[in-house]
Structures are given as structure tokens and as C-alpha cells.
């Protein structure tokens, strides 16, 4: 061992600020907070629904509060970002091999986008948005 070992000093709390790629990944990971909070919001809605029309009405009323409105406006772009960044790496997570070649990533990612957009439009239509 050398007398002066080379020690790279890497901050354990701010390392991701140095490279754009790391920062983008950190933001992607933090979007999951909003997915989780939204899961709890859905759970709250299901609880209200199980208690009957009055409780459910109070839930819908609570959704119109300023905290809920602020949450939705922050969460909406972040969950969109979660979806887009998730789909964009699907060809890395599950490559499809055809003979010697791998199916180009754009087809796998593209298929996810097509299904995502189609599904979202169906939900909006069934929900009576349009």
C-alpha cells in the first residue's frame, strides 16, 4: 500500500449535483414520492366510498381544498415525467432478441407509448371527460 493512498472525496449528500445525468436520475427517483402520496389519496377515497355517500361527498369536497389543488398541480407533471422516463428505458430492462439481432429499442419504447396513450384516452372517455 502506498503511503499516500489516493482518496477520491465524493460527497454522500450532493454527488448527484455534479453530473446532469445523475441529477436527472435523482429527480426520477423522487417523483415516486408523488406516486406514493397519490396511492394514499386513492386509499382515502376508497375508505370514504366504503362509508357511504355522505363520506364520499366529503372526500370530493376535500379534494377541492387548496392543499389538494397544489398537490395535483405539482404531482401531475411529475407523474408524467415518471411515466415517460420509465417507458424510455423499457428496451434496456427487457430487450427482445430476434435471431442474432435485438429488436431496435424505439419499437419497444414506442409500443409502450402507444398503449399508454390509448389506455389513457379510453379511461378519459369511459370516465366521461369527453
Amino acid at each position: 500500500m502506498s503511503r499516500r493512498p489516493y482518496v477520491r472525496r465524493i460527497s454522500t449528500t450532493t454527488w448527484y449535483l455534479k453530473k446532469k445525468r445523475d441529477l436527472v436520475h435523482m429527480i426520477q427517483e423522487l417523483t415516486s414520492l408523488f406516486v406514493g402520496i397519490y396511492g394514499i389519496l386513492l386509499l382515502w377515497g376508497v375508505k370514504a366510498l366504503s362509508e357511504g355517500p355522505e363520506a364520499y361527498g366529503a372526500f370530493l369536497e376535500a379534494l377541492t381544498g387548496p392543499l389538494s389543488l397544489a398537490f395535483h398541480w405539482v404531482a401531475f407533471p411529475l407523474v408524467l415525467y415518471h411515466a415517460i422516463s420509465w417507458f424510455n428505458v423499457t428496451h434496456k430492462a427487457m430487450p427482445i432478441q430476434r435471431g442474432e439481432e435485438f429488436l431496435p429499442g424505439k419499437y419497444i419504447v414506442g409500443a409502450h407509448y402507444v398503449v399508454w396513450i390509448g389506455f389513457s384516452l379510453v379511461v378519459l372517455f369511459v370516465a366521461g371527460v369527453f
Binding site: 460527497s11 454522500t12 449528500t13 450532493t14 454527488w15 448527484y16 435523482m26 427517483e29 423522487l30 415516486s32 414520492l33 406516486v35 406514493g36 402520496i37 397519490y38 396511492g39 394514499i40 389519496l41 386513492l42 386509499l43 376508497v46 375508505k47 366510498l49 366504503s50 355517500p53 364520499y56 361527498g57 370530493l60 379534494l63 377541492t64 389538494s68 389543488l69 395535483h72 398541480w73 404531482a75 401531475f76 407523474v79 408524467l80 415518471h82 411515466a83 420509465w86 417507458f87 430492462a93 409502450h112 398503449v115 399508454w116 389506455f119 389513457s120 379511461v123 378519459l124 369511459v126 370516465a127 366521461g128 371527460v129
Partner: protein, 113 residues
């Protein structure tokens, strides 16, 4: 051989990440409309009640709620490690604990509908 929970939590994470990528944006949009006091017809009590009374509807709500929680718990665990928090066991217990309780509560409430 030491037993590991990694395949289980990673499986729930991957399934949750994929499912929430497909469904969460459109659901947030729908409740965003409700936040403006203009919920679409599907959120009327009779309609959402009929949806959740059906076992397929129950299953859909259950899976979305549960996987949202497991996905977030696992990803926040790795994100918090990345942010320099080294209390991994406490974070894991809290996150997975909330997910487990949320999963049980979701099933409990849905069965009552």
C-alpha cells in the same frame, strides 16, 4: 444460503413502476378535474360505487393502490440512500410497513363496498 427479500421487493417495485407509469398520470388528471370542483361523471357516487362493487373494479383499485405504495417505498428507499441518509433499515421498515398496512386497509375497505 441466506434468504433475501430482494426478488420480492424488486418484483413489486418493477410491477408498480410499470403499472403506475400507465395509470397514474390519467388518474391524477381525473382527480385534478375534481380538485377544480368539476369531477367527471365516473366520480359520481353511483358510478364509482358500481365500479367498486364489481369484483374486477375492486381488483383494479386494490392493485393500483398497493403497487403505488410498494413502488414508492422501494424507490424512495434507494433515493434517500442516494441523498446521503444511511438509516436504511429504519427507512425500509417504515416504507414497506406503510405499504403493507395500506395494502391490508385497501383490501378491507374494498370488501365493505
Amino acid at each position: 444460503m441466506a434468504k433475501s427479500n430482494k426478488p420480492l421487493v424488486w418484483g413489486l417495485f418493477a410491477a408498480g413502476g410499470t403499472l403506475t407509469a400507465f395509470v397514474t398520470p390519467v388518474l391524477v388528471y381525473v382527480t385534478l378535474m375534481a380538485a377544480y370542483g368539476d369531477p367527471p361523471a365516473a366520480l359520481d357516487y353511483e358510478n364509482i360505487q358500481a365500479f367498486a362493487a364489481n369484483w374486477l373494479g375492486k381488483l383494479a383499485l386494490f392493485v393500483v393502490i398497493s403497487l403505488s405504495l410498494w413502488f414508492a417505498a422501494h424507490r424512495l428507499r434507494t433515493a434517500l440512500h442516494g441523498l446521503g441518509l444511511r438509516a436504511d433499515t429504519a427507512i425500509a421498515v417504515a416504507g414497506y410497513g406503510i405499504s403493507a398496512v395500506g395494502t391490508v386497509l385497501a383490501a378491507y375497505y374494498l370488501v365493505q363496498i
